[in-house]
């Protein structure tokens, strides 16, 4: 399986008055065709910035560096704005967190959908409109032809997010980045939208980078999982590997926070990770989770490299194995 997206050692730095902020450091992963990769982590761990860095849509002050960044084998790290704008919306599309504000209030749905295709393909307005209708139907919007004349404010949040999805599909991209696409929606709609995304991804055989902090979602749709903490990847593996035997104490903590049917005992308390995310300003060394980690040792203050679990594609950034963690369990601070 050839990779659509390859990210190697991606970092984002933002100069602030208080010093240099390092919200993303040493992030590497790849996504193959037809693969869903879930990027998991709590708010502020650098998930969204990673996505924006791939799209080259970072805020002006942010500095992006990487060893390599390729889309379908093409270098997009040094591509330049002109080439990037040819690729955006064309080879890769992005769905944002806020459907309520992500569509331009002044233009009709039709205009905004067609525009995406007309920018990248030599097609007539009629063809663009036909494709827009086709895709609106595909994302489950009824009376699609008449929706084209509607404005965003006439649609609900769920519908708007469906429109956003249809919009990113206009040019048939190879990669879709969805940045918490369901966070702003009703719980009942969330599942629908996610299933829709998963279906479309299978149908169009695209790569999907799904950013979320909802582990329930990850369990349902992910092929591979990347767990981020404080700007770094702490664990990555296939969904089965990570969910079956989480290696990193942070991943373990995350999984303890959600009830798992058949596993979590009725009436038992769910876990919580004590403490707060460290400040990412200035020079950072050692394991970033050590302040909150129940198994932290003095050695954790030095740089921690990735180590492989039994399966080679399951790696994590910790000095201890899960067995050693369990041995240290009595040191665990009561939550």
């Amino acid at each position: 399986m050839s990779d659509i997206l390859e990210v190697a050692n991606l970092a984002v730095d933002i100069p602030l008055a208080a010093g240099m902020l390092h919200p993303v450091q040493g992030v590497s992963f790849s996504i193959g065709r037809g693969e869903t990769l879930c990027l998991v982590g709590e708010s502020g761990c650098g998930k969204s910035l990673t996505a924006l860095a791939i799209m080259d849509l970072l805020p002006r002050t942010a500095i992006r560096t990487a060893e390599s960044l390729t889309l379908n084998g093409e270098d997009i790290l040094n591509a330049g704005e002109r080439r990037m704008s040819d690729l955006r919306g064309n080879a890769m599309g992005m769905i944002f967190q806020e459907p309520m504000t992500s569509l331009n209030p002044s233009y009709t749905i039709g205009n905004q959908l067609e525009e995406a295709l007309l920018r990248h393909r030599r097609v007539s307005h009629r063809e663009a409109r036909d494709r827009a209708v086709m895709l609106l139907e595909k994302v489950g919007i009824t009376a699609a032809a008449s929706r084209l004349r509607q404005y965003p404010h006439q649609l609900s949040g769920g519908l708007r997010q469906r429109v956003m999805i249809a919009m990113t599909l206009m040019c048939g991209p190879d990669l879709i980045i969805a940045d918490e696409p369901t966070t702003a929606l009703d719980v009942t709609i969330q599942a629908q939208i996610l299933l829709l995304l998963a279906e479309l991804q299978k149908e169009f055989h695209m790569g999907l980078l799904l950013i979320t902090h909802d582990l329930g979602v990850v369990a349902r749709v992910a092929d591979r999982v990347v767990v981020m903490y404080a700007g770094q990847i702490v664990e990555t593996g296939t969904a089965t590997q990570v969910f079956a035997v989480p290696r990193h104490p942070y991943t373990q903590g995350l999984l303890e926070c959600i009830p798992i049917p058949g596993k979590t005992r009725r009436g038992a308390n769910l876990g919580a990770i004590p403490g707060m995310v460290p400040s990412l300003i200035g020079e950072l060394r050692g394991c970033r989770f050590r302040e909150r980690c129940a198994y932290a040792m003095p050695a954790c203050a030095a740089d921690v490299a990735f180590r492989a679990a039994e399966a080679r594609d399951h790696v994590y950034r910790c000095l201890l194995t899960p067995a050693e963690c369990a041995g240290n369990a009595r040191r665990k601070v009561p939550a």
Binding site: L57, S85, R88, M94, E98, N104, E115, H120, Y151
Partner: protein, 305 residues
């Protein structure tokens, strides 16, 4: 859209009625109009005669209705001072003022909107600083002083532009600049603020994520949303320029409505003043209405309001 247009029209008519009432009451603002007309040496008998002759003895409601029906048919009464129909006087002066106002507005908008957009695109850079400096200076300079400075350099020292009259378009350059520059800072700052806000919005990020070219993002997606408050402001400012051109028209000896207003105030020519106030107020109302309609066209959300 039609419902919205009708609603706004209803409001506009109500405002116009209120304005006409106020304008009508202008006659009585400075005391008994008959006494004022008759002059200081008049006897009680003369005053009574004049009161009866001009109909000031009738009930106020009747006088108002009479005045309003006449005004609606274009009859604004008779200027006792100029011995001429008020309508004739006004309509001979109005085109000049309209032209001046329009030129000033075009000047102001073509300078301030691009400058505001540029400043918003590059906040806290040289362009932005320059625009802000211009805004502060523009707001601080009194227009009569600015006009005189221009006359001195362009008209007298360098002899580039004529300093008075309305013969050709060249004559309108300096008055338009002098009248328009005063509006520039407000429009510029509003454009800048609006653009800054819009450029940081989610749908601009969406537009960029679609791969749209920077000019399309800037003009199609950003400016259209940022310009909405500017339209309202520009309409009000245009009305203001029509009424507020008194100083500029006086300085450049332009025989417009502003100059006429100033003359009429000086000689207490009430019917003329009344007509000018009414016409300018109606212009305001029409402009505001047009701005509302333009905004409704630009922003679909306004149409349902």
């Amino acid at each position: 859209m039609l419902i919205y247009a009708c609603k706004r029209l209803g409001v506009a008519v109500l405002v116009a009625v209120a304005v006409s009432l106020l304008t009508f009451s202008l006659i009585y603002l400075s005391g008994d109009p008959a006494m004022a007309l008759a002059g200081e040496a008049a006897t009680q008998q003369d005053i009574e005669y004049i009161r009866k002759f001009y109909g000031y003895d009738r009930p106020l409601a009747v006088q108002y209705a009479d005045w309003l029906t006449k005004a609606l048919t274009g009859n604004f009464g008779y200027s006792h001072y100029l011995r001429q129909d008020v309508a004739d006087i006004i309509f001979s002066r109005l085109p000049v003022t309209m032209l001046l106002g329009a030129c000033a507005l075009v000047f102001a908008l073509t300078l301030s909107i691009p400058l505001g957009v540029l400043a918003a695109m590059r906040p806290n850079t040289m362009v932005d600083r320059f625009a802000l400096t211009l805004a502060v200076v523009g707001q601080a300079l009194p227009s009569f002083w600015f006009a005189l400075i221009m006359i001195f350099w362009f008209g007298i020292v360098w002899r580039l532009l004529p300093i008075t009259g309305t013969e050709s378009w060249v004559n309108f350059i300096m008055p338009s600049v002098a009248l328009g520059y005063y509006v520039t800072p407000a429009v510029m700052r509003l454009t800048r603020t609006g653009m800054l806000e819009v450029l940081a919005s989610d749908y601009i990020r969406t537009a960029r994520a679609k791969g749209l070219r920077p000019p399309v993002v800037l003009f199609k997606h950003a400016l259209r949303n940022a310009i909405i408050p500017v339209v309202s402001l520009a309409a009000v400012q245009f009305g203001f320029m029509l009424g507020g051109s008194i100083v500029i028209e006086t300085i450049f000896a332009i025989n417009g409505l502003g100059y006429l207003a100033w003359e009429s105030i000086q000689r207490g020519d009430l019917p003329v003043m009344q007509a000018i106030v009414l016409i300018l107020a109606c212009f305001y109302i029409v402009l505001t209405y047009l701005a509302d309609m333009l905004n409704a066209f630009l922003d679909p959300r306004i149409r349902v309001a």
